[in-house]
Amino acid sequence: MIVGLYRAGNSVLHRMRAGVKLVALALFGTLLLSLPSLWLAASALFLVCLAYAVAGFGLHTLLAQIRPLLIVLAILFAAQIWLADLTAAGLSVARLAALVLAAGLVTLTTRTEDLVGAIHATLSPLERFGVDAGKVSLAISLTLRFIPLVSQVVDEVKEAQAARGSRKPVVTLIVPVIIRLLKSADAIAEAIDARS
């Protein structure tokens, strides 16, 4: 099964409700993007780093969040110095780093099922407009069960083709995989309808 990005803990941030964290993150992002000030961005970045410590995460976890972005940040910094000045370069790098780190912190401290619960709670008032929160939850849980199924079908088709000694282009792998999946989709849909 897939392992989520959540890291267990018992800090204030871990115990905070998922909805509260999401609203706080949205406000944080809006504030940072609407006020272009280096001082604000730098303090925001400092605050986020402090929040990692409050949540009980070390420097290693913090750096792991920013690592996929390091090259982009370096290019961004160089481009901004070339196009504008050092202040502008510092601002855009600090702002992007603060935003990505803050969003990463919400992900690290919130269980996947709590975030799904927050989505369900947000969608429920929209039911009168034709949004079916129950169906959204069904789709989410079905996808989680289908991911291992899809990998399994890919492996089976690969093995079958290898057994026949055929090394074929990628198209001939995708087509039989999707046909098998669509056939099982019909059976699964019938089973769900029969049960309800």
């Binding site: 919400v106 996808t143 999707i178």
Partner: protein, 190 residues
């Protein structure tokens, strides 16, 4: 037209949407292909919006991409390279991620309208329009805005991905046409 959009979805529709969201996740597991002539790695994941739109049609295709992004947002590392969580939606490529929903919708819409005469060439053009033109038109301005760089810098930074995307559009077109013959799911319109 409006009424059609809000038609209640059957269980089968939901299963198909979930299945293509899962397929998208598995495409992210495939190791990226590095071609000597092209500097950037080709990931299989951006095949997803083309396949979803071209096989499921506009509505189900777009919803399957939205569902996939919801799973990424709630903290599953499903993007190629094991990325995920809310951070990627604050990152420079956020526009391309949201663009997948629109790309699948556009490819689905074009597929529905060209369904009766859909061959490899039409399917390829549909994938190029939705999966490259529309996707880049959303992703590149978003990249320029988030990174605070001029539009042309963002454009030239994204250009190396183009050859790989054309290869993917060709692969997706062949799959879409093969699926049309053996397992048609799209309702012809227009």
């Amino acid at each position: 037209m409006m009424r059609k959009v809000f038609d209640p979805m059957t269980t089968r529709d939901i299963v198909l949407i979930a299945l293509f969201a899962a397929l998208m996740a598995v495409l992210g597991i495939f190791p990226p292909l590095t071609v000597p002539l092209i500097a950037v790695p080709i990931t299989a994941q951006s095949l997803g919006p083309m396949l979803a739109g071209g096989i499921l049609g506009a509505k189900r295709g777009a919803l399957s991409m939205a569902l996939f992004l919801v799973l990424v947002a709630v903290g599953l590392p499903l993007l190629s390279g094991g990325r995920g969580g809310l951070g990627v939606f604050a990152g420079p490529t956020a526009g391309f991620l949201f663009g997948w929903i629109v790309a699948a919708a556009v490819i689905g819409w074009l597929t529905e309208r060209s369904w009766r005469s859909l061959g490899p060439v039409t399917a390829f053009l549909n994938c190029v329009i939705g999966g490259i033109v529309v996707l880049y038109a959303i992703g590149i301005p978003a990249l320029a805005f988030i990174a605070g760089i001029p539009l042309w810098t963002a454009l030239s930074g994204s250009a190396p991905f183009l050859p790989g995307d054309f290869v993917k559009a060709a692969v997706a077109a062949l799959v879409i046409v093969a699926l049309k013959r053996s397992y048609p799911l799209v309702e012809a319109r227009g």
